[in-house]
């Protein structure tokens, strides 16, 4: 008569081992699933201590002083020259200027620009980095942060005379769709100082590089 028939409460070693193995595997699977679920939880978006998106506006144009809110009548300019080409070239340059840099350039740039383009109406680019605009940097997408995605997105925005972004599109991708999307969404919430031509506010296209850097 086999042992287990005599002792109804005997637990064989193999059964014990199998059960433990099953339980252990189930735990590992559960923990793995839980870890993955927690990774996509949107609530802990705030847990990152550093907002690591960096907005760089490296257009060497003068940002208008805070008084430059356009309330005046917009006079349609006779020659609808879009100030697109120079902006792109500048924006695509790798950036080394910081905010202090641009502020020093504030005084120097406009006369220089004016002097080089003799005869052409002086064009002042729109800007997004004036302090009073309070433009929040884009939130670093969680998944991108986890995957270590970095890069610079150049967003092309059409800025109205009111300083509102009317249209926005990704001009140069960072290579990561998530970062592009985040930059696009952030930029569309921003306010801008409208660009001016010969002192008059004018709706124009503007390229904004948004740099995502992990620290």
């Amino acid at each position: 008569m086999p042992m287990h028939a005599l002792d109804p409460h005997h637990i064989s070693n193999s059964r014990l081992r199998n059960t433990l193995a099953v339980v252990l595997l189930a735990h590992i699977a559960l923990l793995w699933v839980a870890q993955r679920e927690m990774a996509v939880l949107p609530a802990s978006d705030e847990s990152g201590q550093v907002i690591m998106a960096d907005v760089v506006s490296d257009i060497p144009s003068a940002s208008p002083t805070p008084q430059a809110r356009p309330v005046q009548q917009v006079t349609p300019t006779p020659q609808p020259v879009k100030p697109q080409a120079p902006t792109q070239e500048v924006a695509l340059r790798t950036d080394s200027s910081t905010s202090s840099n641009t502020s020093t350039a504030t005084s120097a740039a406009p006369p220089a620009a004016g002097s080089t383009k003799v005869g052409a109406p002086s064009v002042i680019e729109p800007s997004a980095d004036a302090d009073y605009l309070k433009n929040p940097p884009p939130a670093y997408p969680r998944a991108s942060r986890r995957l270590g995605e970095q890069g610079t997105v150049i967003v092309r925005v059409f800025i109205t005379t009111q300083g509102l972004p009317e249209k926005a599109e990704v001009r140069t991708s960072s290579g990561f769709a998530r970062l592009d999307q985040a930059a696009l969404e952030a930029v569309q919430r921003w306010r801008f100082v409208p660009g001016r031509r010969s002192g008059t506010p004018e709706a124009m296209w503007f390229n904004i590089p948004v740099r995502f850097v992990l620290e």
């Binding site: 002792d7 109804p8 059960t19 339980v23 847990s47």
Partner: protein
Amino acid sequence: MPSSFGFTNIWLQGDWVTRSILLLLLSMSLASWAVILLKALDVWRHKENALNSEQFWHCTSLVEGLGVLSQRPGNLFFSLAQTGQEATEHHQAAQSQLHDSLDVSDWVTRCLRNSIDDHTNHLQNGLAVLASIGSTAPFVGLFGTVWGIYHALVNIGTTGNVGMDAVAGPIGETLIMTALGLAVAIPAVLGYNALVRGNKFIIARMNRFAHDLHAYFVTGARVHRAAHAGV
């Protein structure tokens, strides 16, 4: 780049207390689930045996009945019937003189009662583990949370960083410990209750079977002998 959330983060950023609490909770969970699985299989098997113990009474002889019961491995009811049979045989063999004899009813009752007590004891093996885990795991988790929050707050106090991100992140993370404690405790408590319920059913069936056996061994045996004498 290390993930900045989840279990790995807690593990990586935790001190030895946090880590040992996590390990403790994990081992508690493993133990409770192992006990639940092993015992649930046992209880299920014993229940089947209990429901099939009726077949014993449809047999024409004790030997045949024991054969039927012993077909199922680890049958409590086979063990009971065997105990009853051994008790009767022992009683018959051991009485050298008529006045020596202990009342057969008392003797069989006693043997069956002992056997049931033994089995009841064995059935309750492991339940203490479940009960302990079910009642302590939430507190272990809570301890981990309190520990984590304490350190998070001390950190904030020393660095002077009182931003929402500095407060919410670490504290939110340590709450996972409480969640883990509950996740360990809830199955343990539910499993404990289910197993106790299953055991009650089995014990009730064993008692009923033992009463029937008692009647059979005390009276049935006599009937059997009378039938023999008649032939």
